[in-house]
Amino acid sequence: MQIIFFLLAATALISGIMVVIQVNPVRSALFLVLNFFALAAIYLLANAQFIAAIQIIVYAGAIMVLFLFVIMLLNLRQPEEGGAHRHLGQKIFGSSLATAVIALVIYKVFRMIVPPGKPLTPDFGSTEMVAKSLFTDYLLPFEMTSILLLVAVVGAVILARSKVE
């Protein structure tokens, strides 16, 4: 189990880093798909089948395909050479700082004695359970998320619509 988890986690991490450092946007997007798959597998390991399925269907499937289409339609040019060297000092400083922070957190977390978690109920992570908690305890957040999505859609329309008036 543990080995599989670490393999998947490594895949997710490496693909995530690749998304950021790839120059070609299409490749970036494809690495993102890989990242999503790795994450979905980790969800499965954690017994969260529903989330895993949603992750693949919605993110890796629908959203990333849309992304790829947009990227191809926009026909983004390769950024000119030398772009990678701009703000090099900042990049190095920033990434080393971030690494240091993460390293510190990981170090501390590994040394912590974590109390054993509660055993899972057999139907944990099933669609029913997710649905149940979404429509009982998490009803308000669920509804509010719909407002959030609506707002994002409206915003996209406002910013993208062709000049009127």
Binding site: H87, Q90, F93, G94, L97, A98, A100, V101, L104, V105, K108
Partner: protein
Amino acid sequence: MIQYVWLVPVFPLIGFLINGLLGKKISKNTVSLVGPGSVGLSFAWVLGCFWEYLHLPAKAKPVEVFVFNWITSGTFNAQAAFLVDPLSLVMLLVVSGVGFLIHIYSVGYMHDDPGYARYFSYLNLFVVNMLILVMANNFLLMFVGWEGVGLCSYLLIGYWYEKQSASDAGKKAFVVNRIGDFGFLLGIFLIFYTFGTVNFREVFAQAHNFPVGSAILTIITLCLFVGATGKSAQIPLYTWLPDAMEGPTPVSALIHAATMVTAGVYMVARCSALYVMAPISMTVVAVIGLATAFMAASIGLAQNDIKRVLAYSTVSQLGYMFLACGVGAFVAAIFHLMTHAFFKALLFLGSGSVIHGMHGEQDMRKMGALKNKMPITYAVMLVGTLAIAGIFPFAGFFSKDEILFKALTDGHVGYWAIASLGAMMTAFYMFRLIFMTFYGEKRWDHHVHPHESPPVMTIPLIILAILSTVGGFVGIPLIQGWNVFHEFLAPSIAHVAAGHEVHHSMTFEVMMMLVSMGVAGIGIFIAYKMYIKQPELPAQVTAKVPGLYDLIYNKYYVDEIYDATVVEPIKNGSVFLWQEADSKVIDGAVNGTASVVDRLSLVIRKLETGYVQNYALGILIGVAVITGYYLGR
């Protein structure tokens, strides 16, 4: 009437609202009626209260008039309530009385000014705040008045804003005053922290529970004194007052001589119960007062602008008041505050009359021989000068003599010596002013036709001259039973717990009086010698000690030093932070000279800030610091 004492500030407030909001719509005569009239009503009301207070049974005093609960919270309480006690009554009489006279005078002085209504609305607002300041029953309400008078002073100094110097002076006054206010506000916070209340009577009642010289009381009193140095123009915050003379002369008389600048003295006297518990602070107050008295007097020796001489004289006289406070003679300080209000208002208004008659000329070198052209002005100015110089029997004699006497007996012989030297200089520069202005040859330009001012201006002058003459009799120090002023004020003032009550013989007192008269006489004589007998002498003296003269003439270069050490670094710091912290490309045309911009843009090009990744980096650094703080331990 005392129960309705809150009406006292309400009258001028109504005046302010009428003049401020409707000033453009109502006629000039209405403005002239409303402005001084509202203050006159206040004065009348104060007189009534005073009369009633004198006849109150002793156990009903002092009176606290509750208006409404201003701030209430579980632990904290501040009321809008007024304290009527001898100290506040004296201040009320001075503020409303002198204020009333100056309002009347202004009717004549400002008659042709286009902003007539605006002027009176500011002046009324000032009176409102000043009255709140002296009537407040707690530190916080006092602070309201304190800030308010500062604001009005600033508005009135910059009243002729078309003059760059005037608006600069206004700004300077405000900024310097804020430094003082900082001390005052900190003092209030510390008082709240220590005593749990800001009510005067509660705080003072508790103060006795502290040991004499306790650190917290020393710090509190020093903070309060920082506030006082700002408002009352003491070292190191006195530089704004001479510049404040850019305002109209009645304003200088009201705010920068008679009332607002004495607020610091009032505050120290009000807090006498705290100060007597803090000997170190008392010494600081005395030394600062003494140093200011001496330094300002020496600067006054070499000034040629008639109002500036008076301004430095004010700074110097305020120094005497603080000296008195510092040696524990709070009553003497208030006494001098009162007589000073009379004669300094008189001198300022008199100088205003001279300036008015000279068509705005303020340089004494361009005056001379005005004695016959303006006889009334001359006469009243002479009265005022005799009073400030401390000549018997004018008001200043009694009050200043008491301060000098107390400095000797309760302070130190060194205090007395320096203060006496200052008094000599005072006599010298004041008579120099009189001689240069009214005697000698006429030096004015041929197109100037000096004339006496109209009665609306001279009548207040005459009243003030009478007050400057007889005002001292309430506090004749010699015979114990005769010092009415002392007895009246006693309930409001705390005394230094003196281990040894020394009784000085009457001969000693009389001798000291003669000595101080003699000192003043020497000053007058030198002035007479230099400016009447041998007019060539001043130039020779100057030539003998050029360094010293330059130093005094340039006011010890204090302004320049402040500029270089305080103002410039702050300005640079601001620009520096801006560049470092956010620095988008600066619009050079707006922000300064080309060379600065060149340098700036160089820096910016290197830093390339304004970029989103820099901001993100900032956030990341913050995150790193926080996680490091929590986990790196």
